[in-house]
Symmetry: C2
Subunit: 274 residues, 2 copies
């Protein structure tokens, strides 16, 4: 106890990824108690281990947001689980580079066209769900040409995506939900139960944009409503979890934001191990 | 897929630690499905992340076995879960330094008195169970004096402990069970089920010395017998697991050896993610 130095930023980010996937029961997402067929619990934990060099580079040497996100994706998509943490990296890389939310906002504000292009290369490595009528389709080489032509920075790309993507929205609104998540963690005490309660609070108040892309607005709104019922004791958490799993309703974007929120809370003294 | 380089040795060791603790059901040990009161699943996974600098130092710069084991223990005992992987580090550090079992045997053969003294410092940081009538008590400053006086190397210390400690015994017998564990993994196919099956095979053939130290030989022999009954379909795995947990019977030394075996198997092409 207390014999080792405090965690550095890279470790805080890794521990945040680990704690998020371990917390249970988390309605609809991979956790300690269930896997998805293609992506299992161990895939998420392997990514948590294998991403380290990208996080360490960000902490030690700084570097460009776009290329660091790309490096994080490359380091973690070698296993059969495919992409596990793309959204989390979009939040964690600026947070590690900038140390905290204020610093991450400065990092985000300073991105440029090269960051945008490198980010698109990272995006192309993943199988992240793309909205079909999107002008900035990653599979379309014209997109990169358009980014160059219009001089779009990575922050511009995020602003473009913000209406349909709550992770991108964090870049635009000063990491509002990340901040709220960290505040909720402090409020709910320490450890695993606080993470589950915080996850539910967010699920009951924010339509998850990953669910919207996959199932439409109606399903996302219904999930918000049902999470609220769980919080008010009107619906059983286990049954809600089983229902989400059955229907493939996984709030993946809220999970990404919870990871960022845990990172911030850990930096503010929140304890996971008590 | 296949876009990233193969795992390096430090990563293989970390992934081995992660896979071992995730595999379930593993009779009596912490796994995905249960915690102990003081040491939870997340503590094991945090150690898996936080040990990295010691493994990386071993891989990149070589270094002394004793001080590397001490560093690994220091990096991982800062959380409230206490010591989680001391036995595993005793096997993994020589395996990382030497790359494989043949290399680890050379490393072990080359240890000296300073390694022994540094190892004792690591041992003092843990709360590892000590046999009461042991001449080499870590809490006894006379032990270090005796090591110096008699010129005992770390290999000598392990030889001294070997009759009562199956992890120390690996140093003496050329990593016999580590090798057998890797062979069993190859034989049982890939992924989580192969780990569980391998764990059971070892449990059914080797009395766990951690159980012997905690509960005596009789309980350890009974555990071997019951694991055999599970393998022959004469006893229910879930019930056996619940019984072990209830009675505090945790085969911790076999878990350490399974970690080392997974490390070796991964280096020989065994796949965890299929």
């Amino acid at each position: 106890m207390g014999k080792r130095p405090l965690m550095n930023r890279a470790e805080r980010a890794q521990i945040a990824m680990m704690l998020e996937v371990c917390a249970y029961p988390k309605p609809g997402n991979v956790d300690r108690c269930h896997d998805y067929t293609d992506t299992r619990f161990e895939h998420f934990l392997a990514s948590t281990i294998l991403v380290r060099p990208a996080f360490e580079a960000a902490e030690r040497n700084g570097g460009r947001v776009g290329s660091l996100i790309k490096e994080a994706v490359m380091l973690t998509n070698g296993h059969s689980g495919g992409n596990t943490h793309f959204g989390a990296f979009i939040l964690l890389i600026p947070l590690i580079l900038g140390e905290d939310i204020a610093g991450a906002q400065r990092i985000v504000a300073s991105t440029d066209v090269l960051d945008a292009i490198e980010f698109y290369a990272a995006f192309g490595l993943t199988e992240v769900r793309v909205v079909e009528d999107d002008d900035l389709d990653v599979n379309d080489p014209e997109s990169v040409a358009m980014i160059r032509e219009q001089g779009m920075t990575l922050a511009d790309i995020m602003a473009y995506s913000a209406p349909r993507d709550m992770v991108a929205r964090e870049w635009v609104n000063g990491f509002r939900l990340t901040r709220r998540c960290a505040d909720l963690l402090h409020m709910h005490g320490h450890g695993r139960d606080a993470i589950v309660r915080t996850f539910l609070d967010l699920l009951a108040s924010e339509p998850d944009t990953f669910i919207i892309k996959k199932h439409g607005v109606e399903v996302a709104e219904r999930t918000v409503q049902r999470a609220g019922e769980v919080l008010r004791g009107e619906r059983d958490l286990g049954a809600f979890d089983a229902e989400c799993i059955r229907d493939g309703i996984n709030p993946g974007s809220i999970a990404d934001i919870v990871i960022a929120g845990i990172y911030v809370a850990l930096g503010e003294g929140w304890r996971w191990d008590c």
